[in-house]
């Protein structure tokens, strides 16, 4: 990064890879593929070709067929479409769904809305490591369960759920399985040919693509059907109407293509940087606690609780870092992270937790500097605090 601030918030969003930006720029102006992909004329067909290439690129990263990829405005819309779409389409079968308390807000709030609409939701609590065990899902299933929605990687703590095992359970019981993969796509291998997942949500901007674009995988065999959220021109097999945003789609396709090519090399690098950061923090601050399972986690996310100091002060004191806090203390109503609270962390530890997320452009020097800054500010605040 060229800024003075060290950016370690890649789980929030990533910069667009310059190679992606270049592809996107080719879809905007007169000389490029600006035409409506739904148009029958030659420029329209060219744009449609670019869209279909991008669809293939997205599908290739996750072992799907291109026809199983629906473009949306982002993972939030994908989650909404998957969950509301399935629950409404299959409401004749039942009105019960299962999810966890540590899903992304896009899933939590969607399920809460369905509760208001008369559906029933079972909210699974994670274990102390932040994992949803397949047995928890199995025990929650009922004869009228239509859908299970469990995230692949938790966005706050980086823990990795065993979606292969959960998928085997849901398939055996004839229940649909939706997975929010916004934090895992491009970070670890996903093969939808072997995973028994029916619906999977993706985001463009978590994978060095642009914001405002995402995708939903909708399994064709066995076929999954959804009620659309947006009605209009019948685009995307009638599931998501609206003129296709060629530049966004091409950007997401290029980003997923790069991720597919570079994943094997990039993931170990991110894991090494994450371990380097954790070791440096742990040596400097032996009381620091790792949030979430120590090994069953995605490569780039590290979430650490810093006992004895107040979280907002630590976050603000580390102004040279762009990281995320475990709490939203700036609001009038202090709300420590619901994820960390669900893990059993008390308000103080949840509030003094920081999520560091490392990405493609992170360096060892940045990680070392981040550990030094956090250590220095932590000890300064600790010295300032009353004893006891």
């Amino acid at each position: 990064m060229s800024h003075k601030v060290i950016y370690l918030d890649y789980a929030a969003t990533t910069p667009v890879d310059p190679r992606v930006a270049e592809k996107m720029a080719g879809c905007l102006t007169c000389e490029g593929m600006f035409a409506n992909p739904a148009s029958a004329h030659a420029p329209g067909r060219a744009a449609r070709g670019a869209v279909e290439q991008a669809r293939s690129q997205v599908a290739a990263l996750v072992g799907a067929e291109p026809g199983e990829i629906i473009f949306t405005s982002g993972a939030t819309e994908s989650d909404n479409l998957a969950i509301k779409g399935a629950m409404h389409f299959y409401k004749g079968k039942g009105r019960h769904l299962v999810t966890s308390r540590i899903e992304h807000k896009a899933v939590l709030d969607t399920c809460k809305q369905l509760e208001r609409d008369g559906f029933e939701v079972t909210w699974l609590k994670p274990d102390a490591d932040g994992l949803i065990q397949p047995s928890m899902v199995e025990q929650a299933l009922r004869p009228d369960t239509v859908l299970v929605s469990i995230m692949h990687v938790n966005n706050e703590i980086g823990t990795l759920n065993d979606i292969a095992a959960i998928g085997r359970i849901t398939r055996e019981r004839g229940v649909l399985f939706h997975v929010d993969a916004a934090q895992s796509a491009g970070k670890l291998p996903i093969d939808l040919k072997t995973l028994l997942v029916d619906l999977m949500s993706f985001s463009g901007h978590k994978v060095y693509g642009p914001k405002g674009i995402g995708a939903l995988y909708v399994r064709r065999e066995p076929r999954v059907q959804l009620d659309p959220l947006i009605h209009g021109g019948g685009h995307e097999h009638g599931l998501r109407s609206g003129t296709l945003a060629t530049h966004q789609i091409v950007g997401m396709g290029a980003a997923f293509d790069l991720a597919r090519q570079e994943l094997a090399q990039e993931a170990p690098q991110l894991r090494a940087l994450r371990e380097r950061l954790w070791q440096a923090l742990h040596v400097a601050i032996p009381r620091a606690l790792l949030n979430g399972h120590p090994s069953q986690r995605v490569c780039g996310i590290l979430n650490v609780a810093f006992p004895g100091i107040e979280g907002e002060s630590l976050l603000f004191a580390c102004e040279a870092l762009a990281v995320s806090s475990g709490s939203a203390c700036t609001s009038a109503d202090r709300q420590p992270s619901f994820v960390l609270r669900a893990l059993g962390r008390d308000d103080q530890l949840a509030g003094s937790s920081i999520r560091f997320s490392i990405g493609r452009f992170s360096t060892a020097a940045e990680v070392d500097a981040a550990a030094s800054i956090v250590s220095e500010e932590y000890h300064r605040l600790l010295d300032l605090a009353p004893t006891g």
């Binding site: 100091i309 107040e310 907002e312 002060s313 603000f316 004191a317 102004e319 203390c329 700036t330 609001s331 009038a332 202090r334 008390d346 308000d347 103080q348 509030g351 010295d383 300032l384 605090a385 009353p386 004893t387």
Partner: protein, 130 residues
């Protein structure tokens, strides 16, 4: 950091980053009154010390603070503001008014109340012993 730029004035930010008079007086220092307020489990704890002259004026202050940037900044600014004031004036000093002058967010007013409570707790010990 945008939050610091949008929520905290330059003065408040400076006192958060480089607080004045932090720490505590050496044990046995004459004329020191100590008071506490808040609790860590509620997100904010302040231990405030006033060093009072024989004539009843605040000569110096020390504090220890656990809390958000606003709490730290208010401890620092208040410790400067109280120096030289008669103890009665120090007791009546409005940290809430100081917070308003600094333009701190309304959500941070409770930080000012905690600092006030710690000061009054310290000053109260003078009254009770005197």
């Amino acid at each position: 950091m945008p939050s610091s730029a949008t929520e905290y004035s330059a003065t408040a930010w400076t006192h958060f980053r480089r607080p004045c008079n932090a720490g505590e007086f050496p044990a046995g220092t004459a004329g020191v009154l100590s008071g506490e307020a808040g609790a860590r489990q509620h997100g904010r704890a302040v231990a405030f010390q006033l060093q009072v002259t024989a004539g009843g004026r605040v000569a110096d202050c020390r504090y220890r603070v656990y809390g958000c940037p606003a709490t730290i900044a208010l401890c620092s600014l208040t410790s400067e503001a109280l120096k030289g004031r008669p103890l009665a004036a120090a007791t009546a000093f409005s940290v809430v008014a100081l917070a308003e002058q600094l333009g701190l967010p309304a959500a941070k007013r409770s930080a000012a109340l905690t600092v006030e409570d710690a000061i009054r707790s310290a000053a109260g010990r003078y009254n009770s012993s005197g």
